[in-house]
């Protein structure tokens, strides 16, 4: 277990970090030489290397700079502070979760409709698939500005973008899940003379739960991307996306990387949360751990 799984991952991570340090030195060196020349300092190679890793606005910050910035802004600030990553993360998280809830509900409703109405399946399904070939994030700025024009601001517009991004995986997964009962089981329900509703609640819904959770993992990651991009175009005042935008305006590269890490941590936590919920549900429904 340890040797076959964790060791390779750790090796690759270590390799990435090593490459990162080397890249940081090489990418920051030209600027550092320039700064030294202006200050009239000649530094040895080793001094130069050290300086490249402690610039205020490096081209590529070294991993330890990002880590210390992330640590400082996450754990050492009051969470109400505008500079706290926890605060920005919470803003993004709230619209992510709202959009995810909308998207999941919408996806389930559409899937139920598609499974039960033949005309809906044949007319809507091609469009649902086509809707995913549309680079919908492009619409984000407009949704936000236009809704802002009629005084809908804040959480809802961002959540709408997340909704759009997250409904599709849920729809596709749920259609598959609701259709997953075998013909034999459906026939059994028919021999019981069960109605469409009974077949739905007692057979189709329980059968679809694993599919639902698998697609919810994809959906929540997509939802987070939607929330972050939704924060970009308006110069939003808070959120991971606005932190990225502010960083790019003022060339605060370390801040940008820290915000990126915060977004990644958020994504990991959300996916892990869905995973835990799926395990608990599975156990409550009497599933045995595989």
């Amino acid at each position: 277990m340890l040797k076959s799984r964790i060791l390779p991952v750790l090796t690759v991570v270590a390799a990435i970090v090593a490459v990162w340090y080397v890249a940081a030195v090489f990418m920051n060196a030209p600027v550092q030489r320039d700064m030294d020349k202006r200050a009239g300092i000649t530094s040895t190679t080793w001094e130069l290397v050290e300086k490249t890793m402690s610039q205020a606005k490096p081209t590529l910050p070294a991993p330890h700079q990002i880590a210390s910035n992330f640590f400082e802004n996450t754990f050492q600030r009051k969470i109400t502070s505008k500079r706290s990553l926890v605060y920005h993360g919470w803003v993004t998280l709230s619209s992510t979760l709202l959009g995810f809830a909308f998207g999941t509900a919408l996806g389930i409703v559409i899937a139920v409709g598609i499974v039960h109405l033949k005309s809906l399946e044949r007319s809507l399904m091609p469009w649902i698939i086509a809707s995913q070939t549309v680079p919908i994030l492009a619409i984000a700025p407009m949704v936000i500005v236009v809704l802002g024009a009629i005084n809908i601001t804040g959480l809802i517009p961002k959540a709408l973008i997340s909704t759009y991004l997250s409904f599709f995986p849920v729809t596709v997964g749920m259609v598959k899940g609701l259709r997953s009962p075998e013909a034999m089981h459906l026939d059994l329900m028919r021999t019981y003379n069960s109605s469409v509703g009974q077949t739905f609640w007692k057979l189709r819904v329980p059968a679809s739960v694993p599919y639902l959770f698998t697609s919810m993992k994809v959906a929540i990651a997509a939802s987070l991307v939607g929330a972050i991009v939704g924060e970009l175009p308006t110069g939003a005042v808070a959120g991971i996306g606005s932190k990225l935008l502010a960083g790019s305006y003022y060339s605060q590269t370390i801040d940008m990387w820290a915000a990126l890490i915060a977004g990644s941590v958020l994504a990991a936590l959300l996916v892990a949360g869905v995973d835990i919920a799926s395990r608990i549900t599975n156990r409550l429904m009497g599933g045995r751990p595989a």
Binding site: V134, I228, A268
Partner: protein, 375 residues
């Protein structure tokens, strides 16, 4: 008989709506510039009722569907064409008639979905026609709602205005497509997918690397990678190179993960067979495992075609020369020219669908052996 009456409740409701509309005339408010002529109103009502009663009384599915198709769309077209000059003046009967025609179109789709045509050509045509009717009605309802209620242009322009804008700004749109799609997206897509593929082959050769890379690749696919866009813009400048870099990063991981997964799909039997032929690693790879991995690789190519467009457009929000789809969207939003934004979105949707369709076509010819492509 029971199946027929069940499928034509839409027609019955449609009759009720038409009568309700006739009770509550006139269609447009008193001050409307072009009040609807009595002749046009009679034609619309007759069309709607013809469709409804055809659906209620006739037995033959194909005939009913054809009549409904004609009446519903002719009625809607008449209603919409009489709307010009009367924007925002429409009263309840207008929307009741639109709704009546919409229900007829729904009944038409229900009839079409229940058809079991003998020939394959007709089945294919039906498979295209049914979603086309749905799409057309989304546009009709959109047009009727925006112009009938007089929705402010900035909020949601009617589709006809967007269409006019597309036709009028062809050169601008073409320049944006050239900058964003043919420079940034294409380059990034090819480089990102190819390098993901190459690393996947390497990981397949070196098992230690596979065990290390796969969990990381899976993890990274869940991350909001799009966030590297501002960093790439800082590194590679405002021109298309920075967008291509974002696209490379975004397309790399899906390709890596899918190719590695695909290379594992060839069964033991087939591999044993290759071993009895004394084929070496590369022969097995080229003749057995890569073809078996093709469905996975094409899946990655499809995912990547959308991701690439998204990556390039969002990266342009962080700074571009004065051309490009993302640039146009963000500036025209600022100037409240929403019809131009919708035009760009339409072009992006078209590009996305075309590239998806192209990949799907190539996939069909490459993976002709796969069960999902045999019938």
């Amino acid at each position: 008989m029971s199946s027929l009456s069940r499928s034509s409740w839409q027609a019955a409701v449609s009759v009720v709506l038409t009568i309700a509309a006739l009770v509550k005339l006139p269609i447009f408010a008193d001050g409307a510039a072009n009040p609807l002529s009595t002749v046009a109103l009679i034609v619309i009502v007759i069309l709607t009722l013809t469709g409804a009663f055809a659906a209620l009384l006739l037995q033959q599915r194909a005939a009913v569907a054809a009549i409904l198709f004609v009446t519903a769309h002719a009625g809607a077209w008449l209603l919409l064409s009489n709307l010009s000059g009367n924007e925002g003046q429409a009263r309840a009967p207008f929307f009741l008639l639109i709704a009546a025609n919409w229900l007829l179109a729904w009944a038409c789709v229900t009839q079409l979905s229940a058809l079991r045509p003998e020939s394959r050509e007709i089945a294919v045509a039906l498979r295209l026609l049914i979603p086309a009717i749905f799409g057309a009605w989304v546009l009709i309802l959109w047009e009727a709602a925006t112009r009938g209620f007089g929705v402010p242009f900035v909020l949601l322009p009617p589709p006809s205005a967007i269409g006019a804008r597309i036709v009028n700004s062809m050169p601008v749109l073409a320049a944006d497509v050239q900058q964003t799609i043919f420079k940034a997206v294409l380059f990034g897509y090819v480089v990102g997918s190819a390098s993901g593929f190459a690393i996947a082959i390497l990981a397949d050769r070196v098992d230690f690397l596979r065990r290390g890379l796969l969990p990381i690749g899976n993890f990274v696919s869940a991350l909001p990678i799009i966030g590297v866009a501002p960093i790439m813009v800082m590194w590679f400048g405002f021109d298309w190179h920075s967008k291509a870099a974002v696209v490379v990063i975004m397309t790399f991981f899906p390709m890596l993960v899918n190719t590695v997964a695909g290379l594992g799909t060839a069964g033991h039997m087939e591999r044993d067979l290759m071993r009895t032929y004394a084929s070496d690693y590369w022969q097995t790879l080229l003749k057995l495992r890569l073809p078996a991995a093709m469905p996975f690789i094409f899946n990655a190519l499809k995912i990547n075609s959308t991701l690439a467009l998204i990556g390039a457009i969002v990266a342009e929000f962080f700074g571009t020369p004065i051309v490009g789809m993302g640039f146009r969207i963000s500036t025209e939003v600022g100037r409240m020219n929403v019809d131009m934004v919708w035009a760009e979105i339409f072009v992006a949707a078209l590009a996305g669908s075309l590239s998806y369709g192209l990949i799907a076509l190539v996939e069909r010819s490459v993976t002709f052996w796969h069960p999902s492509n045999r019938n």
